[in-house]
Amino acid sequence: MPESAISVVNLQKQYGQTPALNSVSLEIRQGEMFGLIGPDGAGKTTLMRILSSLMDPDAGECRLLGISVKEHPEKVRRVIGYMPQRFSLYPDLTVGENLRFFADLFGVPRLDRQKRTEDLLGFARLSPFIKRRAGRLSGGMKQKLALCCALIHTPRLLILDEPTTGVDPVSRREFWEILKALKDQGVTLLVSTPYMDEAQRCDRIALIHKGNILAEGSALEVIARFPGKVVAVFGPDLPGLAGWFKKKLRSEQVQILGDRVRLNLFTQPRVSMDELCAGAEDAGIAIDAVDEVGPGLEDTFIALVAGKEEAHGAIG
């Protein structure tokens, strides 16, 4: 049995002049829950479509469970489940009919099918809705049905493209619990999401931006790559404080968060923090306290993007 569930080497893809994937390489281990984290347009969907054999890359190679996607797309399709970003089932067929249709297409034996369908629907708590048309389900239920359809042939590898985008917070948490249960059953999962908080639930993650992998590892490992420090500044006039710091730092480094202004100091400011605060006081903006806090994934992402762009600027 191959060591890695997904192995991607130097994958390239361009849409016209716009690069979507820039020499991407990834190794995802069997049984792992791997998160692909990045904003819209980062290349997450492109990568997943290529892995699911829906799209050909311009260059590079990818193997799923040891099978080359390019050479044997039909074999790959049998062992993976793919759930696209948009709800893609037949709205005019019922929950049961959709499931049965995909079971038919994947050639799930009739004997196993009954049990598999019941298990999946029970697991996703959709059993009471088996006769309801898919188009009449709520957003969260649609995503769960899509997941059931992607799981009907018991794939060993599941590729989920932003499964929780547009789903309410309660359904989101429920969905992640289902994913966790699947992982415990030994299924390898590749999940993309624009939400940094969801990344914490993955074993390992890759931060992706404009077709480049910025960092890879467990969430803690990725955060450990944060180069500077994060500071919380407290004061009575938060908008005033934020405005002051925005003048002195980059605007993406300053954020009002609840009762504080959060400064992401991934690069050493030209003047020290003490001088900055003194300057603010001189300008008549009161500061009560300054605390150093631990960086989060989002801070790291911003820092890495800025670092990448600077390096790029230095070359160009």
Binding site: R49, S52, S53, L54, M55, D56, P73, E74, R77, R78, I80, Y82, P84, R86, F87, S88, L89, Y90, P91, D92, L93, E97, F101, F102, D104, L105, F106, G107, C149
Partner: protein, 375 residues
């Protein structure tokens, strides 16, 4: 094979569940058949003709009599004043006006070339031309009779003259009923709508809602997907054709002289072409709206260049060449030959091979494009 069957079942289930689709497939065509069967006719009946008789002689009255005995014309009298006719034509109260001049009878007797004025409202050139044809025929017959009467008075001369008497007989549609000619055309258009338009719409719909990509990650090959998407519409098309034909035979009494199995076989060939075009269209567009526009473009072009309304012989040479690439042209030809003449393969093999060639070509092209676009 089984998997294609699942797709077909799924497709038919979706069609049956969509009330609008059912109406489009089963009710609309019958309404079209009835309405168009009655409406599209080149027989022009009850043409209003205005006759202005300045002569008022027995000869002119005899002439008017002939016009009023014609079943296609309705004579309306007009005051015998100069310029009295034009306002009536202008107001559309009559399509034709006949002005018999003052000395009509006298000129006729004296061999002085009597002249009659015919005014035609040319707004609708078709009606105008037909009306002129009717008038000319009546006048010609009238002249012939006048001539004959005069010849009888000089028998010696009469014997030396031989008239050419054309004896015409119309075959295959002896009553020249245009409905016999139109029904096969309408059936072919209905079949095109079902197979080309609905196929492209249904594929593009799956593209829109993303299920096509979902189908492509199943172990189905793209050939299986295409088969699964086209077979249901081929079946629906044939069913619809059977309904329309039964209706045409029972209601409009259109004779079917030719062999039904041959008709089914030739129709299947046409359906191949039409389905191929439907798939081809679906690979060119991304939304159902675009698919509708594109199918409409093909449909209208095909109909106009098919000889359905306008005889191909009347088209300029270069347009006639284009019509050879129009599958509907062959199919309408086949239907008419089969329905009315009972033509067999010995006559229709040319059309058969043209359709087969076109069908295979467009199907292969469409399948290749389909594969590239979705894979």
């Amino acid at each position: 094979m089984n998997k294609i069957w699942y797709l077909v079942i799924k497709e038919l289930r979706q069609v049956m569940r969509d009330a609008n689709m059912l109406r489009v497939i089963f009710v609309v065509p019958l309404i079209q058949l009835v309405v168009l069967g009655y409406a599209i006719t080149t027989d022009i009946k009850n043409l209003d003709i205005l006759i202005c008789d300045f002569d008022g002689s027995s000869t002119s009255r005899e002439l008017i009599e002939r016009f009023s005995h014609n079943e296609y014309l309705t004579v309306r009298g007009a005051p015998c004043k100069p310029n009295a006719v034009e306002p009536h034509l202008f107001r559309g109260e009559a399509v034709v006006a006949l002005v018999i001049p003052m000395d009509f009878e006298r000129d006729l007797v004296n061999n002085a070339k009597p002249e009659i004025q015919i005014l035609i409202d040319g707004q609708n050139s078709n009606t105008g031309a037909v009306a002129l044809g009717y008038c000319n025929r009546i006048l010609l017959e009238f002249m012939q009779d006048v001539l004959e009467k005069r010849l009888i008075r000089t028998p010696a001369f009469a014997r030396s003259i031989q008239f050419i008497q054309p004896v015409s007989r119309v075959w295959y549609n002896p009553e020249l009923k245009s409905v016999y000619y139109m029904i096969p055309g309408i059936i072919s258009i209905l079949l095109t709508i079902i197979t080309m338009l609905l196929t492209s719409l249904s594929i593009v719909k799956e593209k829109e809602i993303g299920t096509l990509a979902q189908l492509m990650v199943t172990p189905l090959t793209s050939a299986q997907v295409i088969a699964g998407k086209t077979i249901p519409f081929a079946l629906l098309g044939l069913l619809e054709m059977a309904i329309a034909m039964t209706f045409g035979v029972l209601w409009f009494k259109v004779p079917i002289v030719g062999s039904i199995p041959l008709l089914a076989m030739l129709s299947a060939t046409y359906i191949l072409t039409s389905l191929g075009l439907g798939i081809f269209i679906s690979t060119l567009v991304d939304t159902q709206q675009q698919a509708l526009f594109m199918s409409w473009f093909f449909l209208v072009t095909f109909i106009l260049l098919s000889g359905f309304f306008y005889p191909i012989e009347n088209m300029p040479g270069w347009v006639q060449v284009i019509t050879y690439g129009n599958p509907l042209r062959y199919f309408i030809e086949i239907l008419r030959e089969l329905f009315l003449k009972g033509a067999g393969l010995s006559v229709l093999w040319g059309e058969l091979f043209s359709l087969l060639g076109m069908g295979a070509g467009i199907f292969i092209l469409a399948t290749l494009r389909f594969h590239k676009r979705t894979a």
